[in-house]
Symmetry: C2
Subunit: 334 residues, 2 copies
């Protein structure tokens, strides 16, 4: 069951039973627009604040995932959820209505991987038949949390990301589906000493490299054993750094790499610079674009690696570097 | 293994092998002062900022727990850690040095319970022989994060808590010790609609009641089956509300209740109002005061219930209420 130094291979793999995705207007206008379950008309989803909107997205994403599987909230044993906001309020306020026992998580944009890892670990251990993994991000609440008030219309460097407004929820359990979670690789904190919070791709690429290499080693696999190796939100800058770092380890993932941050927006038409980011980026791309390909068997096995940049405005202002973390989830068609 | 609607009883209980506690000057002058492993001379622990001090406390608490058990960081499979700061930077920056794969958590002051629950669940599932659970809080960084700059010398209402400067770390694993974690009760978010962030005891008491009642029900126990039922940081205000709420459920925990926030400071001499609070409060009290009593067998079985108030300055300013969450950990002498 324990594989190598950081991974677990499940003896009895839990299934990814269903998913729910809900996004904002801009995401709906992007290349994956018609694949999401719900696209909001504005980014407030009927609420008065971005934070409340984010909470509503989380709740709706969970209800979508539950609805598709004809499961009620009472049947779900535990929720594993998180977001980018201080003290995870989007999750706390959003999940309250479901009244499911909850583990609150924080792993920056890697949180969807963390939530899937912990929920599949819990199912495989027999701690319950149904768990929910949910994450979200919101452009408005994230800019407010990490950068400048939107009203300033601050210029953004080309290395900056555009936070995805969206939430993805996943029902993980023992009930058979066409996608199973066969293993996980839990990530370490990797710090190359970079301090540019407007270049998160560069900050996260070393962590992505570390987790991918460790996954290949722990499971004794080669790059081509995965139809795709899919990072969360490295974007254009982070991807090229990742390729270099992986090459230095004697591996090459260029032919089968994909980054959720690069497919969720049309970089040129939508002016999203380095690409999409946020807890909602990898989660909604997994729910809308990746899972259907796994369900149909178009892809047999993928490595899903959401990446997170660990920082806050306080750590940034105090001159701390921005370390990264990435968790790897092995998803297989079955 | 699954017990009732929210609990797990471990077939093969993991052991709480060792602990580490490190606190600030004020905590060192309190009633538990001579029980902590390390008491700082000031609250900076050699660092330049409170946030960096908190990171250092976390690292040192982990090293203390590891050292006592003669374990190296390389032998630990996963860390489960969290703190109160936005984006959990105390944990991210503190745990980086240990290079152990990490799950970042957020459950406000309930996080020590969350970390112990997840690490014991992982050990019991066979995902590794050694896990670390660590949490921290710091008076300086918490006041800055949640309230006013200390330089304002703002008056505090009597219902306010004094955030504990401290970190507690716990090594959980398969190696036999005299304390085992026999079960956990995962908490739900409970919201009574209170909006006073300076009265966290009142905000958290309903969640504590919910988890305690659920634990008794799930494990089919009565109050007296526990030598102590120990909440994290309800304080004087929260405790009296908890007693009332529990009484309404037809139970009485008055004879065997203890609250970490009420024992860590001398309320009158130290002017700490409602009592201590923070992720470090329950964790350092468990490490210094509770565990030795369990190890010696003075207490045979306790229910440890850290409680958290889910809020941020943003949620508070936007008029949201302050829901609570509490996780229950059953610790037994063996």
């Amino acid at each position: 069951m324990i594989k190598g130094s950081q991974s677990i291979q499940f003896d009895k793999s839990p299934f990814l039973i269903s998913s729910g995705s809900i996004v904002g207007k801009k995401e709906g206008e992007g290349p994956l627009g018609n694949l999401f379950d719900v696209v909001g008309e504005d980014d407030l989803f009927g609420e008065k604040t971005w934070e409340a909107a984010e909470s509503t997205m989380q709740k709706e994403a969970c209800l979508l995932a539950l609805g598709k599987a004809h499961v009620t909230p009472e049947e779900v044993r535990y929720i594993y959820g998180g977001d980018l906001l201080r003290q995870g309020i989007a999750t706390s306020m959003g999940m309250e209505a479901l009244q499911i026992p909850m583990f609150g998580l924080y792993g920056a944009c890697s949180t969807s991987g963390e939530a899937l890892a912990l929920s599949s670990m819990a199912v495989a251990a027999g701690y319950g038949d149904l768990m929910l993994a949910v994450t979200s991000s919101h452009f408005g609440s994230a800019e407010k949390e990490f950068r400048f008030p939107l009203g300033y219309a601050t210029q953004r460097p080309l290395s900056a990301h555009w936070t995805v407004t969206g939430s993805g929820a996943f029902l993980v359990g023992t009930r058979k589906s066409h996608v199973r979670i066969s293993g996980v690789t839990v990530g370490k904190i990797v710090d190359y000493g970079l301090k540019d919070s407007q270049n998160m791709g560069a900050c996260m690429a070393p962590a992505a490299c570390d987790t991918i290499i460790q996954n290949l080693e722990d499971f004794e696999r080669k790059e081509s054993d995965y139809d795709r190796i899919i990072t969360g939100d490295l974007g254009y800058v982070g991807q090229s750094i990742l390729f270099d770092l992986i090459r230095k380890k004697g591996k090459d993932i260029k032919p089968n790499h994909m980054d959720c941050g690069m497919v969720i927006f049309d970089q040129k038409k939508q002016d999203t610079h380095a690409g999409g980011s946020g807890c909602g980026c990898a989660a909604t791309t997994l729910a809308s674009y990746i899972l259907p390909k796994l369900e149909k068997g178009e892809w047999k096995r993928i490595l899903f690696v959401p990446t997170g940049a660990l920082m806050s405005t306080v750590s940034f202002n105090e001159g701390e570097s921005v370390p990264g973390i990435a968790h790897g989830i092995v998803l297989e068609h079955c």
